[in-house]
Point group: C2
Chain length 87, copies 2
């Protein structure tokens, strides 16, 4: 990336209050079982269950791999419920 001029500073901070996802829906669209999806992603079936239940904030690489299996972007799979300090 070629940096010419600094832009003015952004004066926001961002909070992500909740992370939801469409993994279960997408998995059904693609006709995959939890086991099959786990195998494609090279994670355990427990990980799929926990993700589908929204139990945790996955690593970026795992999120990316999920989005690739479903042939879309990360933001199409994961929904970030957001608030910021200024509103």
């Amino acid at each position: 990336m070629d940096v010419k001029y600094p832009l003015r500073k952004v004066n926001f901070t961002f909070e992500v209050n909740e992370l939801r996802n469409r993994i279960k829906d997408l998995r059904l669209v693609y006709d995959l079982t939890q086991d099959e999806l786990a195998e494609k992603l090279e994670v355990s079936r427990q990980t799929i269950i926990s993700l589908e239940k929204g139990r945790y904030n996955p690593s970026l690489i795992l999120a990316y791999k999920i989005s690739r299996v479903f042939m879309c972007r990360i933001e199409d799979v994961f929904i970030f419920e957001e608030g910021n300090e200024n509103g």
Copy 2:
């Protein structure tokens, strides 16, 4: 999401061999110090240093917050070097 018909199964698995990012460049474009960026993201300065040096695979929420500070998408900040089993 309204699931009507399952699509045919994808028969790929995905490997992410390397994760690079443009955080340092973007930080300079926005004229932020590591300290300032850390404060916006509510992480430590060490975390920024380690991220810029590519030392780890951040959580999805942190990756998302970074992309929002820089007003772009996750895939604009992070570069996934990819290979898959089928070639």
